[in-house]
Symmetry: C2
Subunit: 212 residues, 2 copies
């Protein structure tokens, strides 16, 4: 609690920008070190400012907030990006998280919520709504996977597929399962037929899905 949270604000709407700056500046454990009116200007000079949290608008003319995070985060990974958005569009949020954002908050929130979100992200949390949290968590679970996994493939085939996904060669799978290589080959053939793919990588992508 000794150090103040240093904040950069990126927001094209002058009114909102100044409002946010006012709210955050008036907290005694926070400090707005710089504000930017759009993504391009931000990207050019933000590395020169020491900060802990970047409050990033998602809808901006020119480069949008998601792209900005994607470009900026790798340069200073310790800085946390808090996305600020009007709409809780799961598509956007997801993409932003994948690009390196750590949380987000809705614009039409109270000042308290904004302050709380900044504190949460600065102290190691990931502010987000219950709905988005659920979406994020669900993307972990092999739910869609389970459908294919359970209804299409036999349990033996599932085992083989798991080993395939680990990158093992047929002969390694064969010795691990104590069956012949030709049997593995046959299983794989059947798996591919059921999944309607024709390579290991396609099968993996189909069943284990890819994030995003």
């Amino acid at each position: 609690m000794a150090k103040r949270i240093r904040i950069i604000i990126v927001e094209d709407d002058k009114e909102i920008r100044e409002l946010a700056e006012g709210i955050l500046s008036s907290e005694k454990d926070m400090e707005v070190v710089k504000t930017f009116p759009n993504g391009e200007i931000f990207l050019k000079s933000w590395v020169n400012y020491e900060c802990d949290v970047v409050l990033m608008d998602i809808n901006m003319p020119g480069k949008n907030g998601i792209e900005c995070v994607g470009e900026a985060k790798p340069k200073k990974p310790q800085v946390q990006f808090l996305i600020s958005t009007v709409f809780e569009n799961p598509q956007y949020i997801f993409q932003a998280l994948c690009n390196g954002a750590t949380g987000y908050m809705l614009k039409n929130n109270t000042a308290d919520k904004l302050v709380a979100a900044v504190r949460e992200i600065a102290s190691g949390g990931s502010p987000m709504s219950a709905n988005i949290a659920r979406l994020v968590v669900d993307s972990f679970s092999r739910k869609q996977t389970a459908e294919i996994h359970n209804e299409l493939l036999t349990s033996r085939e599932k085992e083989i597929l798991d080993l395939l996904a680990q990158g093992l060669m047929y002969k390694e799978i064969a010795s691990k399962k104590e069956i012949g290589v030709e049997t593995v080959r046959k299983h794989v053939y059947n798996i591919y037929e059921k999944l309607q793919v024709n390579s290991r990588t396609e099968a993996i992508n189909k069943v284990y899905g890819k994030q995003l």
Copy 2:
């Protein structure tokens, strides 16, 4: 709000089990339909009980809570699994989420927190602590990826690797990038050398990481 939340409790410790049952039953919008003293018994007969939320202990003799979720969730995907644990071990939590749990809560919490977590999970949220939320979110971002991605491979190699990961054949990559197949082959060879792998799947697993 019309329907009550129907709950199943799986917990080996009799005292805790009955305490939890008492707490949840006394809420007027909740109903404990059944309790189980261990995972095996639960797995055998839980499908016969209509429920919305399963409160699952993670540390149980015999089959642990994570395994139980993994086996049970696919059978009734609409049921939400709330993990109950003493220690906030990220390893466990992650695995549980991957296996289909939707949230978790610490045992040494107040009755209020338990009730709140159940309500949150039943209403579409994913109760978890700020720390775990952060871990979950971070796992989305291509942070570790970025290291290899940025420091080891050239930008051209990154592009090729992306296409490899999509399961394209060399000739497809070649035509997409408008270069020769042999060039693709060379790039791939170099990529594998840098990553110290010898197959497409290994490279993908190494760079894009695997969840879990």
